[in-house]
């Protein structure tokens, strides 16, 4: 019955871009798991004041280094135990999720924004400008990223904000290179030429015409950059150059706990586990995003 068929065909709508993306994304079960974990971490960060049993700096002077609940001497009062000054580790980890997410967000936004602009400039103004920019990026890449970050923190002074700036600078070259490469590939296409002929100005060409078509690899890199940012900022915190105690940042918590490594394993284990799980989740999601956004790059 043709009438019914056309009716049925009308019922099938072309899936929107978001739906199509979700269709590809959910095929990768690992990425969906990563997304779920990230949602949990985000919720923990937003609701930290409500769900954490205690405040992050609250001390219980009768309970120094109390073991977690399943060990002998542990109690439900402190599910994951307490640290050397009697603070509840679970509460500190929950509050610490705020720092890790903010670190990831700010570092990625900083290096993405700066990297995209510099990369666009390099890709549009070829010649001298490009050479200078790319050589500078080569120089940054020639230095071990953590070393560069440490030196920058030494200049700016230790602290969370400066650590984030330092890490953002070390990731800049990746975004610049990616943006420049896609810009060069895109500018020779017909639609860009058409737009130029139609009289589009440089700003419009850069940000409205070309940039949206370069976004897929940048989004993937940004997700993966999130996990690297969290790792590097935690490493700086661990070396005493990032967030300063008593901030419940996970890396800084580990630095505090180092001297108890052989006496109270739980002080060391749980903050690191939190870092690992969060970073793993972002990496899993990054993989899924890459597959979904860029079928050409699809992993075999």
């Amino acid at each position: 019955m043709p009438a019914e068929l056309t009716e049925a065909a009308d019922g099938i709508k072309q899936p929107g871009p978001l739906l199509e993306f979700w269709h590809y994304f959910r095929e990768n079960r690992g990425s969906v798991a990563g997304l779920v974990v990230i949602c949990i971490v985000v919720l923990a960060a937003i609701l930290a004041d409500l769900i954490a049993p205690y405040g992050p700096a609250e001390q219980f002077r009768e309970h120094f280094l109390a073991p977690p609940v399943w060990m002998e001497g542990g109690s439900w009062q402190f599910v994951l135990g307490t640290d050397a000054v009697g603070r509840d580790i679970l509460s500190r980890i929950i509050h610490g999720s705020r720092f890790s997410l903010v670190i990831g967000l700010i570092v990625v936004s900083l290096s993405l924004a700066a990297g995209v602009v510099i990369g666009l400039v390099a890709g549009f103004f070829r010649g001298w400008t490009e050479t200078m920019i790319m050589r500078l990026m080569d120089i940054i890449l020639a230095m071990p990223s953590l070393l560069l970050a440490i030196v920058i923190v030494a200049i700016l002074g230790p602290g969370l904000v400066n650590a984030m700036i330092a890490v953002a600078i070390t990731y800049l070259p990746h975004y610049v290179r990616l943006t420049r490469a896609s810009v060069i590939a895109e500018t020779s296409r017909d639609y860009v030429v058409a737009s130029r002929v139609a009289g589009a100005g440089l700003g419009r060409l850069m940000f409205v015409t070309v940039l949206p078509n370069c976004m897929a690899p940048l989004i993937v890199q940004a997700t993966l950059g999130f996990s690297n940012a969290i790792l590097d900022a935690a490493a700086l915190g661990f070396l005493g150059l990032g967030a300063q105690p008593p901030t419940p940042e996970w890396g800084t918590m580990l630095a505090d706990a180092r001297e108890f490594v052989l006496r109270a394993w739980w002080v060391v284990t749980f903050p690191g586990l939190a870092i690992l799980i969060t970073v793993l989740a972002f990496n899993l999601m990054g993989d899924g995003l890459r597959d979904a956004l860029d079928p050409k790059l699809k992993r075999s």
Binding site: D138, A142, P144, I150, V151, S227, V268, T269, L276, L280
Partner: protein, 336 residues
């Protein structure tokens, strides 16, 4: 090949000069006056201060200071440590073998575990084994290695008491350093006890430092193998009845190695970042720990020289890796 080498050097040299410039500028940006830093809390008279400024050349214009720094660097003179008064280059060279020994063993661990794991995952694609290898690889890649180090210390040094917590060798052993590599020197000195001690000190740091490269190598090997296993020549080799082991080991692996070598080369730069953390945790007397200590002591000539030297080493290794391509991949060799 020679032309290729020249072209690469043409990029390398300006980049290296750029690194010296960035290192110089970064160190000048650090707040504080180096002479006052040197004098410490006792303070220093204005006259003596000016005298020392002149002695170290800090009173000259910046462009002149950079120029002489660059000329000195190219002559192998990286200045003097403010703390020990020894040449920076000598300090670096004394500690460098420890870092190289650690890094080599870490890479050995990474390749010996990562490569077979990647091949196995590719050959047994889709099985439980494949998923296990990929899961482990992604976990290793996401690992905060400073925490991983602490966990291994808890397990192997604390609970099992198999390995020492820090250092390179037990204090009761002493022998003349010949190569600077404890493992080789102890064998040369014919001290099996010292060799065992050095190895026990080396195992945990090497595993920690090798974890991320291992994960990356396993992943890269798997995807390179999967690509190659689908090629026609592999099918031909199979069709003519070669043993599967021979097909995988000889025909496929050799061609899959090209991207893997790239990745191994890229890991060298990252290895230094890891070495800074690993050496700090295990009190390993290498250049990573030395740099961290120098920054903490505000020994800026050491930091400046250290950055230049490490960046130089990274660039040289990357160049070597590029040259190595030609050896693994004849197609590239002839194209040049």
């Amino acid at each position: 090949m020679f032309r290729f080498l020249l072209a690469r050097l043409g990029i390398l040299v300006p980049t290296f000069v750029g690194v010296t410039f960035v290192a110089f500028v970064l160190i000048r940006l650090v707040p504080g006056d180096p002479i006052e830093m040197l004098a410490g809390e006792r303070g220093i008279g204005a006259e003596r201060h000016a005298e020392l400024m002149a002695q170290y050349g800090f009173d000259r214009p910046l462009w002149y200071q950079y120029g002489s720094f660059l000329v000195n660097v190219l002559q192998g003179d990286l200045g003097q440590s403010l703390v020990t008064r020894r040449p920076v280059l000598a300090e670096f060279l004394a500690l460098f073998p420890a870092t190289v020994e650690l890094s080599l063993l870490a890479m050995l661990f990474a390749v010996l575990v990562g490569l077979p794991a990647g091949v196995l995952a590719a050959v047994r694609r889709g099985t439980f084994l494949d998923h296990a290898v990929m899961g482990a690889s992604l976990t290793g890649y996401s690992m905060p290695i400073f925490w991983w180090a602490l966990l291994l210390i808890i397990l192997f040094s604390g609970m099992l008491q198999w390995t020492p917590v820090s250092g390179r060798i037990d204090l009761l052993y002493f022998f003349e350093p010949v190569t600077g590599f404890m493992l080789i020197d102890s064998l040369l000195a014919d001290e099996p006890g010292a060799f065992a001690s050095a190895l026990r000190h080396l195992v945990l740091p090497a595993v920690v430092l090798g974890t991320i490269p291992m994960a990356v190598i396993a992943r890269q090997t798997r995807s390179a193998m999967l690509e190659v296993l689908g090629e026609d020549y592999v099918r031909t080799a199979r069709a003519k009845g070669l043993a599967p082991r021979r097909v995988v080991g000889l025909h496929a692996l050799r061609n899959a190695l090209i991207p893997v070598v790239t990745v191994i080369g890229l890991q060298v730069g990252l290895l230094f970042s890891g070495a800074i953390l690993t050496e700090t945790i295990f009190a390993w007397p290498g250049v990573g720990k030395w740099l961290i200590d120098s920054i903490a002591r505000r020994d800026y000539p050491s930091v400046q020289g250290g950055i230049v030297l490490i960046a130089g080493v990274v660039m040289l290794v990357n160049l070597l890796v590029d040259l190595l391509y030609g050896l693994v991949n004849p197609r590239i060799r002839h194209a040049r």
